[in-house]
């Protein structure tokens, strides 16, 4: 009897290991659960990748534009390249940047308007970008953030924003120093205050670096333009 129980237990263990589903139908719950556990184990065992430090010499070998995006809360970062450049009905040039593993951020004249592939994405946002060229945000006015929160829903946050010029600043990005102006956008709402910082090229108006709020789950993100 005990031997039979052992054989049966071994069979069940085997079935657990070999649980599988094939064909264009939905997989059973147990199969999905076991697959996920297997994936998690594999992920934990995977060796961590080491990266070489960034140097200008390395960046000079790269021909396409790149930005570096860092989630400030946990120092997770990635390099992104443009996927789409768009002139639509809204003022400002829109660039959608993407990582290799399908996380994207959309910037309108350097101002964050959407994220995808993060948690609690910024679905869309209005900006204080002005028509007529790159300048970063300008002046004052309302902004709205539509954030993915809750039960497959979104929450729209209405903010009253104003931009102040904190004066010239020399900004270094990987061995190159740019002459920039530091613009600070302060947005107030009932549920809190958002402070976004932009370092805008004194001549061209390009946003070289920024620190912007990407919603309550992702917090502030830092963006640097590495190559053009």
């Amino acid at each position: 009897m005990t031997r039979l129980t052992h054989v049966m237990a071994a069979l069940l263990a085997l079935a657990t290991l070999t649980a599988c589903a094939k064909g264009p139908e939905r997989s059973p719950l147990e199969v999905e659960l076991i697959t996920t556990i297997r994936e998690q184990i594999a992920l934990r065992r995977a060796p961590k990748q080491e990266r070489p430090p960034l140097t200008r010499a390395l960046l000079d070998t790269i021909e396409s534009p790149y930005i570096e995006v860092t989630l400030e809360a946990n120092d997770v970062f990635a390099y992104l390249q443009p996927q789409l450049v768009l002139e639509d009905d809204t003022p400002g040039e829109l660039v959608n940047w993407v990582t290799e593993d399908q996380v994207s951020v959309a910037l309108r004249d350097g101002i964050l308007v959407a994220t995808r592939g993060l948690r609690g994405d910024l679905l869309s946002s209005s900006t204080l970008a002005q028509p007529g060229g790159l300048q970063g945000p300008e002046g004052q006015g309302p902004r709205s953030f539509d954030l993915r929160l809750g039960d497959h829903e979104s929450k729209t946050l209405e903010l009253a924003c104003s931009v102040t010029d904190l004066g010239p600043e020399a900004l270094e990005i990987v061995e190159i120093t740019y002459a920039t102006r530091h613009l600070q956008e302060t947005c107030e709402s009932e549920s809190g205050r958002v402070v976004n910082d932009f370092w805008v090229d004194s001549r061209s108006g390009r946003v070289w670096q920024s620190r912007q709020w990407a919603g309550p789950l992702n917090g502030y993100i830092r963006i640097r333009q590495l190559t053009l």
């Binding site: 264009p24 199969v31 070489p52 205050r193």
Partner: protein
């Protein structure tokens, strides 16, 4: 498109958001302040729970309520008394609980250990104000045998007080009046007379004549939250535990004061240790989940952006419709589209291409939200279809049934993706309508029809509430296969191999009705069984109508023929259906033979989607035991797949013939796998709990009933999740 994916492989820079590297980012105090000040929509504060699984002190309730939608499970134990509780906060001011309890060594009513089930309900009369306390009325164990029957009115007020080590603390003061069990110690008065507890009763009836009758006694309690994690509690209990300490000898009650200390281990888990009634040590483990706040947020790969045709179809000849005439061109487009959908885990069923209009039918086996898949399909269409196609008709398909048609204009997709209010702007110009019949000119996917699917999967089959052993379990492996020869047709079967289990040792049936469900133990005597084997066909007999016919071994207990027709317009919250079945009871060995019992059973059903996710259903008809009556059910559902609800069935079977419980009733809940694992999935853990499983008011369990499959693809569900259309 600017920049291609391969360019990312340059010179050692490769991207990857998941790789964590500690960069020494200079973090100025001013920036730390902006993090503090930023808007935050965290989990709302949640009260701690008592030994009955409701907000409260230790053994007594408070007036607090949980955040709306909160689902809690608690296990408490002291002095031989154990209670498993499930509580659901259905409305901001209304919560319900189900409890299974065991009292060791009670030695009354013919049981050593006395097990019982009970339901509670709590209603908040008003919220806490600046000066006034919150007030709640509660009925504890209000139906059935009522071993814990008691009613109360409680008031709770919060005060800011210092906490531990300089942190801010909070003091909750509760006072109340209890009746029944909660008025059995230190009574100060009495209202009328109260019937007494009868442990041998069949139960199941509301004890209206007992509520707020008999002695009443004042109780009080304190909870001091020392910081975010630690709390201490003290209370004066008005429960005399007469049954346990006077009629029996379960424990000794030496004092009316209880004390405890609790620790919040995570937002979901709280643990407590207590000293109760001057003699007993107790423990309480509280798990609180909120459907709106998953333990981890789901992260799904970003979609590819829509590239406006103006960027790539620059010559006039790009815009002709000549391609429609070429079959090879159409096949090429179909294959491109199928590839694009596959990248998102979706399966192309068929595509119909006309010059300016394209209809895509697809199957979604991956994502919970149909709105999300509609957005992904629209993007795939924008990526692969010739520029002349301007109108997209998107039809999700389930088991051959087109659920609805979403009509989106391609130029809207191109113009609105990065608009400031992208979601509302797109939804405003999107149409939802009935899915018409499959066009004759449709190009079917190569990979479906005929299609085979197989799975090997472990299974568990539990059995509850046997007085000798409250929980029994069988486990083993299911071997399933299905074959779909043409859209809507399906042949499917499952062979079940039990590996281990003890359901077979359960209680034999004592039912006087035809034993349509209580022969579970007889059916559990066999290790290798044919769980089901059937042919089914789904089709749409008309606009807004859905039909199903199923023939074969439908479930483990019955085989026969089943037919169903459902009326559900895409834009309607109401649905009506009829189902008719003629079935024969299967032999206990669950192979191909049958027992003598056969029955014609069927129902007329009405379904209504009320506001706030409430789903009401009424079924009137004839049940498996030949009894006639109606089932009423109400479920609170969430977009993310959570649901929690209850049902009861009244039929012409008398309470006496029905047996324990008097009539069929139960609660059910569903916790989606994707919510738990933060990974896309359409599966869910579901559980239906009946206090007692009897034979009256039982329905056939046919695979593939229509309503649940259809509703998710209709306008209300799609719009409730509109935020996901661009995701």
């Amino acid at each position: 498109m600017t920049g291609s994916k391969t360019a990312a492989k340059h010179a050692g820079i490769s991207a990857g958001v998941l790789t964590v590297i500690a960069l020494a980012i200079p973090y100025s105090p001013a920036q730390a302040q902006t993090v503090e000040a930023a808007p935050n929509f965290d989990r709302p504060a949640q009260p701690s729970l008592n030994f009955y699984g409701s907000p409260g002190i230790i053994d007594l309730p408070s007036a607090e309520h949980l955040p709306e939608g909160q689902f809690t499970t608690t296990y408490s134990w002291f002095g031989g008394t154990s209670r498993y509780n499930l509580t659901f906060q259905a409305l901001p001011w209304l919560s319900t609980s189900f409890r299974y309890n065991g009292i060791q060594n009670l030695n009354l009513f013919g049981f050593d250990t006395y097990y019982d089930r009970g339901f509670d309900v709590r209603v908040r009369l008003w919220q806490e104000g600046q000066y006034r306390p919150a007030v709640t009325v509660g009925l504890q164990d209000f139906a059935g045998t009522g071993i814990y029957a008691g009613e109360y009115i409680a008031a709770t007020k919060n005060f800011d007080v210092p906490g531990l080590g300089g942190s801010t603390g909070n003091l909750k003061v509760t006072a109340g009046l209890g009746w029944g069990r909660l008025g059995s110690n230190g009574a100060i008065g009495s209202i009328g007379t109260r019937g007494s507890f009868d442990g041998g009763d069949t139960g199941g009836e509301l004890s209206v004549d007992q509520w707020f009758r008999g002695d009443f006694a004042p109780f009080a309690g304190l909870e001091w939250e020392l910081d975010d994690r630690w709390g201490v509690k003290a209370e004066y209990s008005t429960d005399a535990y007469e049954l346990e300490t006077q009629q029996s000898d379960v424990f000794e009650r030496k004092s009316s004061l209880n004390f405890g200390v609790e620790y919040q281990k995570s937002p979901q888990l709280r643990l407590g240790a207590y000293y109760l009634y001057g003699s007993e040590i107790g423990v309480n483990a509280q798990i609180q989940l909120n459907p709106r706040h998953p333990p981890q947020q789901l992260r799904i790969p970003a979609p590819l952006p829509v590239v406006p045709r103006s960027q790539w179809a620059t010559e006039p000849e790009h815009w002709t419709t000549d391609w429609t005439a070429s079959e090879s061109k159409r096949t090429q487009i179909r294959d491109l589209l199928a590839e694009a959908l596959k990248a998102d885990g979706l399966v192309l069923e068929a595509v119909t291409l006309k010059g300016n209009v394209a209809e895509v039918r697809y199957r979604n086996n991956r994502y919970r939200s149909f709105t999300l898949t509609i957005g992904r399909v629209a993007r795939a269409m924008a990526r692969t279809l010739p520029p002349s196609v301007e109108t997209f008709q998107i039809v999700p398909v389930r088991r051959g049934l087109g659920l609805s048609t979403t009509v989106i204009r391609r130029s809207d997709l191109e113009a609105l993706e990065f608009a400031p209010d992208a979601t509302d702007a797109l939804v405003a110009v999107t149409g939802f309508q009935n899915a018409g019949p499959l066009p004759e000119t449709a190009d079917f996917s190569d990979e479906l029809y005929p299609a085979f699917a197989t799975s090997v999967s472990p299974y568990t089959a539990p059995a509850y509430f046997d007085p000798d052993q409250p929980f029994r379990l069988d486990l083993g492996v299911d071997f399933s296969a299905s074959y779909a020869p043409a859209p809507g047709w399906r042949v499917a079967g499952t062979i079940r191999q039990r590996v281990w289990g003890n359901v077979a040792d359960g209680r034999a049936s004592n039912s006087v009705l035809p034993r349509v469900r209580t022969d579970q133990v007889e059916y559990a005597q066999f290790d290798t069984t044919l769980e089901n084997l059937y042919v089914s066909r789904n089709w749409k007999p008309g606009s807004d109508l859905y039909a199903r016919a199923t023939f074969g071994l439908l479930e483990s207990n019955f085989g026969g023929i089943s037919g169903e027709v459902l009326w559900k317009p895409v834009n309607s919250r109401l649905a009506l259906g009829v189902e008719a079945n003629y079935v024969k009871q299967r032999d206990f060995d669950q192979r191909f033979s049958f027992r003598d019992y056969s029955v014609a059973t069927g129902h007329a059903s009405a379904y209504y989607e009320a506001g706030n996710g409430f789903l009401a259903q009424v079924d009137v008809g004839r049940y498996l035991a030949g009894d006639i009556g109606a089932t009423f059910s109400l479920d609170k559902t969430f977009n993310n797949g959570w649901s929690f609800g209850g049902f009861f069935t009244l039929t012409d079977v008398s309470a006496e013939d029905f047996g324990e419980g008097s009539f069929d009733k139960g609660i059910r809940f569903r916790i989606p796998l994707d919510w738990l694992l933060a990974k896309p999935s359409r599966n869910a853990f579901g559980l239906t709990i009946r206090p007692t499983q009897r034979d009256g008011g039982q329905r056939l369990s046919v695979p593939g009933r229509l309503y649940g499959q259809i509703r998710e693809g209709h306008r209300k569900s799609l719009l409730d999740q509109k935020a996901r259309i661009w995701e």
